[in-house]
């Protein structure tokens, strides 16, 4: 059973308040090492220089969106296998299908409850302690 505290997480969302809410939810689950960035470009640079185990990224962001970010991660020889969970809007069914084709590990529809976030993470990592 993996320990949440041992999993390094990068949260990417262009809205500061949303990043703060996701950070709180992750900390309540037991995650200790949670970083966040407002853009995919900044997050990509950060995880390349200091790897994480899990990326939780919004889809709807200016400049580089979540799908482009996922594609960049998957095409990188070093960080390509990082677990990637995408946050989408309720009407983004096509986005989810494209993300699945690009190798997303799971997705979560906004607005989501903290319990749903934990469930999606555990479906990838297994039950967290």
């Amino acid at each position: 059973m993996p320990a949440a505290a041992a999993i390094k997480v990068m949260v990417v969302d262009d809205q500061t308040s949303m990043r703060a809410m996701i950070r709180r939810a992750l900390q309540d689950i037991g995650f200790k090492d949670v970083r966040d960035k407002p853009t995919a470009a900044e997050a990509l640079a950060a995880v390349k220089s200091d790897r994480v185990h899990l990326i939780i990224s919004d889809y709807n962001m200016p400049d580089m969106d979540g799908l482009q970010f996922l594609e960049e991660v998957r095409s990188d020889g070093v960080i390509g296998k990082t677990v990637f969970i995408m946050l989408t809007g309720s009407s983004d069914r096509e986005v989810v299908q494209r993300a699945a084709a690009l190798g997303v590990n799971n997705y979560l529809v906004k607005p989501f409850a903290p319990a749903a976030l934990k469930d999606k993470i555990e479906r990838v990592f297994g039950a967290l302690s």
């Binding site: 262009d14 809205q15 500061t16 308040s17 949303m18 703060a20 809410m21 709180r24 309540d28 709807n60 200016p62 809007g89 309720s90 009407s91 069914r93 989810v96 299908q97 699945a100 997303v104 590990n105 799971n106 997705y107 529809v109 906004k110 607005p111 989501f112 409850a113 903290p114 319990a115 749903a116 479906r123 990838v124």
Partner: protein
């Protein structure tokens, strides 16, 4: 002039002249956002600011919160050509009208101010707090808004919008 009336849980975004967005508020908040360059404007109407640390919230519960309503509004604005860095805001509502509900209106108003400040959005006009219901009218293309107090009591409970979430059966099961 064409008119869009929104209720709690809804938002409207317009990028054309001759439209008016309006709503009635008690303790709820309406945030009007506009981009003066792209000439895009929008308004939302939400019940509560942000969730606490309750563990049993459902996605339907989450829809009532401003943190979600603001994201929907900002995304709607950006999809019509607005740029986040140019956004300006007018804030309305947050009245403490109903005895027994405590200061929920003040909490909502505090959230709205914190949110726009955190996101770096300049506040144009703000009319929040007090103990009277308000009617808000917003010209999205011009970015101008006005509020007036409402003498008649608001109908309670306010009508709820149709659920915005897809049925669970409509979700894609990846794993």
């Amino acid at each position: 002039m064409q008119r869009i009336a929104i209720i709690q849980g809804q938002n409207a975004v317009v990028a054309e002249p001759n439209w008016l967005i309006t709503t009635l508020l008690g303790s709820c908040i309406a945030v009007c956002l506009y981009d003066p360059v792209a000439r895009v404007g929008g308004m939302n109407h939400f019940l509560l600011g942000e969730p606490g640390r309750e563990r049993n919230l459902t996605p339907q519960d989450m829809q009532r919160y401003g943190v979600h309503a603001m994201e929907l509004l900002i995304n709607g604005m950006m999809s019509k050509g607005a740029t986040r860095q140019r956004l300006r805001a007018h804030l309305y509502g947050g009245a403490n009208i109903i005895a027994g509900l405590g200061s929920i209106g003040s909490s909502n108003a505090g959230f709205a101010r914190r949110f726009v400040e955190t996101e770096g959005i300049a506040i144009g006009h703000a009319d929040v707090g007090g103990n009277r219901a308000r009617k808000v009218e917003f010209l999205p293309y011009e970015g101008r808004a006005r509020s007036s107090t409402v003498t008649d009591p608001l109908p309670l409970p306010l009508p709820s919008p149709k659920p915005l979430l897809p049925a669970v059966a409509g979700e894609l099961e990846l794993f």
